[in-house]
C-alpha cells in the first residue's frame, strides 16, 4: 500500500472547505451523536466550539463544549492538531538521530525527553553512565523542571488574568535558557544528553551560571507567591475548582503534580530512582483536595525542592569523564581522531551507520515536569529502532478533562486546562 493521498490538495479545493463527501469515512453520524447528551439534539443545550486557535488552550487543543447556560454539560476534547508523526520518523533514523526528535515532543522540557530516550537506549544496549554525567543530568533535569513550571505558571496566570506574572516568569526562564545555551549551544532544543552520558563536559562558567539561578530564584518564588498565593482573586478562581479524587486520578493514569495534587505519593524519582536520584535528599510535595489550587501549590513547592537538589548536586559534583568508555556507543575523543585511522573510521561509522541494539522491548520512565515521561523502545537488532513510543504525561493528564470539567462553569475550564499543564506537542506527538 502506498501512502495515503494527502487529504488536502491545493489545486482543486479551496482549503477552507475540506470536502468530506467524496471520501470514505469510517465513522457514522450515530457515533458522533452519542458524544453529546440528547438535550443537545433538541437544541435545549448549546454546543460551543473552542479552539484550535484560542489563546487559552495552550496550543492547538480543540474542545467541543455542550453548555446549559454557563454550566458545562459535557466537554469533548479533540486533539491531533499538532500530530507530528515523530514516532514514525524515529523508525527511519538511527538511535543517535532520534534524540533531536525527542526534544520536540514536550518542548518545554527538552532535557527530560532526552534523558528518557537515552535511558531507554542505555537499558536496551546495556551501558553504564559515569557518575559525573549522572549528577550533571540531575542538575539539568531539575533546571528543566523549573523551566517547564515557569512557562506553566506564566501562562496559567495569564489565562486567569494576571499579566505581570507571565513577564516575570519569562524573565527567570531566560536564566535557565542561558545555561542550556552554555552547555549545548542551543536555547531550547538542546539534544545534550546522549546514550552513555553527555555530549561534552559543561563549560568552565557553568557553576557561576547555576549559582546565579540558585541565588536569585528563592526571592523570585516569594515574589510570585506574594502575587498569587493569598490573592483573593486567584483563590476565587482556583480553590475547589476542577476537583479529582485520588482513585480517579490513578484510574485515569494521571501522573506528576496532577496526581500528587490529589494526595497520591507517586514520583518516579523516588519510586524507581534513575540517574542516581537516590543520592539526594528531597521531599515530594503533596496536595490534599485535588483542585486547581492544590496543583498550583504542589508545583510551587517543587521549585524549592528542585533548588535543593541542584544545591546538593553542585556541592558534590564529582570530577571525571562525562561519557562512558564503551566505544560501542561513545565516539572516540577528538584528539585520537587526529592521529588514528581506526578512530576516524569508527567515528564515521558511528555517525552514519549507528550502533546496533539487541532485539527486545524496554520501558524507561523519568519524572518530567508534567509527570511520568516514559519511552517504550523496541529494538530489532538493527541500528534503527523498530518502534519508539512516548508515554506522554500530558496525553494521560488531559484525558480526564471531560470528567473534571463536568458541571463547571465555562470560565473555569480555562483554569482547569492551565492547571493540568498540557503541552500539545506532548499530547499529539
Amino acid at each position: 500500500m502506498a501512502i495515503a493521498e494527502p487529504p488536502i490538495r491545493i489545486e482543486d479545493a479551496p482549503l477552507n472547505a475540506v470536502r468530506v463527501d467524496d471520501v470514505q469515512l469510517d465513522i457514522t453520524l450515530e457515533q458522533l451523536k452519542k458524544l453529546v447528551s440528547p438535550r443537545a439534539l433538541t437544541g435545549e443545550t448549546m454546543l460551543l466550539n473552542m479552539g484550535p486557535q484560542h489563546p487559552s488552550t495552550h496550543g492547538v487543543l480543540r474542545l467541543l463544549l455542550e453548555l446549559d447556560g454557563e454550566t458545562i454539560v459535557s466537554c469533548i476534547p479533540d486533539i491531533g492538531y499538532l500530530h507530528t508523526g515523530i514516532e514514525k520518523t524515529a523508525e527511519g533514523k538511527t538511535y543517535l538521530k532520534v534524540i533531536p526528535l525527542t526534544d520536540r515532543t514536550d518542548y518545554l522540557a527538552p532535557m527530560s525527553n532526552n534523558l528518557a530516550f537515552c535511558g531507554a537506549v542505555e537499558k536496551l544496549v546495556g551501558i553504564e553512565v559515569p557518575i559525573r554525567a549522572q549528577y550533571l543530568r540531575v542538575i539539568l533535569m531539575e533546571l528543566t523542571r523549573m523551566n517547564s513550571h515557569l512557562v506553566w505558571l506564566g501562562t496559567h496566570a495569564l489565562d486567569i488574568g494576571a499579566m505581570s506574572v507571565f513577564l516575570y516568569c519569562m524573565r527567570e526562564r531566560e536564566m535557565i535558557l542561558d545555561i542550556y545555551e552554555a552547555v549545548s549551544g542551543a536555547r531550547m532544543m538542546s539534544s545534550y544528553i546522549r546514550p552513555g552520558g553527555l555530549w561534552r563536559d559543561v563549560p568552565a562558567h557553568f557553576p557561576q551560571l547555576v549559582q546565579r539561578v540558585l541565588d536569585v530564584f528563592p526571592g523570585r518564588i516569594l515574589e510570585y507567591e506574594k502575587l498569587l498565593k493569598e490573592n483573593p482573586l486567584w483563590k476565587e478562581r482556583t480553590v475547589g475548582i476542577g476537583k479529582i479524587s485520588a482513585e480517579d486520578a490513578i484510574a485515569w493514569g494521571m501522573t506528576g503534580p496532577c496526581l500528587r495534587g490529589s494526595g497520591v505519593n507517586y514520583d518516579v524519582r523516588k519510586a524507581q530512582p534513575y540517574s542516581s536520584y537516590d543520592h539526594f535528599d528531597f521531599s515530594v510535595p503533596l496536595g490534599s483536595n485535588g483542585d486547581v489550587y492544590d496543583r498550583y501549590k504542589c508545583r510551587m513547592e517543587e521549585f524549592n525542592q528542585s533548588l535543593k537538589i541542584i544545591r546538593q548536586a553542585m556541592k558534590r559534583l564529582p570530577p571525571g569523564p562525562v561519557m562512558t568508555d564503551d566505544r560501542k556507543v561513545a565516539p572516540p575523543p577528538k584528539h585520537e581522531i587526529a592521529y588514528s585511522m581506526e578512530s576516524l573510521i569508527h567515528h564515521f561509522k558511528l555517525w552514519t551507520e549507528g550502533f546496533r541494539a539487541p532485539e527486545g522491548e524496554v520501558y524507561f520512565a523519568v519524572e518530567s515536569g508534567k509527570g511520568e515521561y516514559g519511552v517504550l523502545l523496541s529494538g530489532d537488532g538493527s541500528p534503527k529502532p523498530r518502534r519508539v513510543h512516548f508515554r506522554a504525561p500530558s496525553f494521560h493528564n488531559l484525558q480526564p478533562l471531560s470528567e473534571i470539567s463536568k458541571g463547571a462553569l465555562l470560565a473555569d475550564i480555562v483554569a482547569i486546562i492551565g492547571s493540568i499543564d498540557i503541552v500539545l506537542g506532548d499530547v499529539d506527538r
Binding site: M1, L25, E91, A251, A271, E361, R386, R387, F395
Partner: protein, 169 residues
C-alpha cells in the same frame, strides 16, 4: 526480583498466560487474545496493578502474527511494573477493549486504532483521534513509507516547483 515476580504471576494466572519472558529485568506476560480481559482484571484486582501507564502497538512485520499490543502496568502500592503482550494476526486484527478494566485505555486504544488500524471490540467511542477524520490508511504500519517528500534537501528550483504545490491568494 523480576524472577520471583514472574514465578509468582505464573502460578497465580496459570494457563491464562502462554509464556513469561524476562528481558533487562522487565517481566512480560504473553497472553492469548481471548483471555486478556481476564488477565487484566486479575492483575488490577488481585495483584494491585492499579495504573495502566501505557498501551501501544508494535508492528513486527514481516513476522506473523504481526501486531503486538503491549499493556504497561504499574502498581503504586507494590512499586513494580509488568508488561502484558498480546500478539494479533494481520488478517484478524481485533482484540477486546480494555476500557472496562482501565478507563484511560480509551484514548490509547483510539490512538492505536488510528495509527495501526487495530479494531477494539466493545470500545465505547472508536474514532480517529490524531489524524483528520477523512484520512485514509494507518500510517504507523510498516508498509507505509517513512518519508513523503522525495526531493527533500534540494536546491534545484525546477525540480521542487514541479512537485510542490504553492498556495495563491
Amino acid at each position: 526480583m523480576s524472577q520471583s515476580l514472574s514465578e509468582l504471576l505464573k502460578s497465580a494466572l496459570g494457563d491464562a498466560i502462554s509464556q513469561v519472558t524476562v528481558f533487562r529485568d522487565e517481566v512480560t506476560l504473553h497472553v492469548p487474545r481471548e483471555r486478556i480481559i481476564e488477565v487484566l482484571t486479575h492483575l488490577r484486582d488481585v495483584q494491585q496493578f492499579n495504573m495502566l501507564t501505557d498501551e501501544t502497538c508494535v508492528d513486527y512485520y514481516p513476522r506473523e502474527p504481526r501486531f503486538g499490543i503491549l499493556y504497561q502496568l504499574y502498581s503504586i502500592p507494590r512499586n513494580i511494573r509488568v508488561r502484558v503482550k498480546v500478539m494479533l494476526s494481520e488478517y484478524d486484527a481485533s482484540i477486546p477493549s480494555a476500557v472496562p478494566v482501565y478507563r484511560n485505555a480509551n484514548w490509547l486504544e483510539r490512538e492505536i486504532y488510528d495509527l495501526f488500524g487495530i479494531h477494539f471490540e466493545g470500545h465505547p467511542d472508536l474514532r480517529r483521534i490524531l489524524l483528520p477524520m477523512d484520512y485514509q490508511g494507518h500510517p504507523l504500519r510498516k508498509e507505509v513509507p517513512v518519508t513523503v517528500e522525495e526531493n527533500a534537501f534540494s536546491f534545484n528550483r525546477a525540480r521542487i516547483d514541479a512537485t510542490k504545490p504553492y498556495a495563491t491568494e
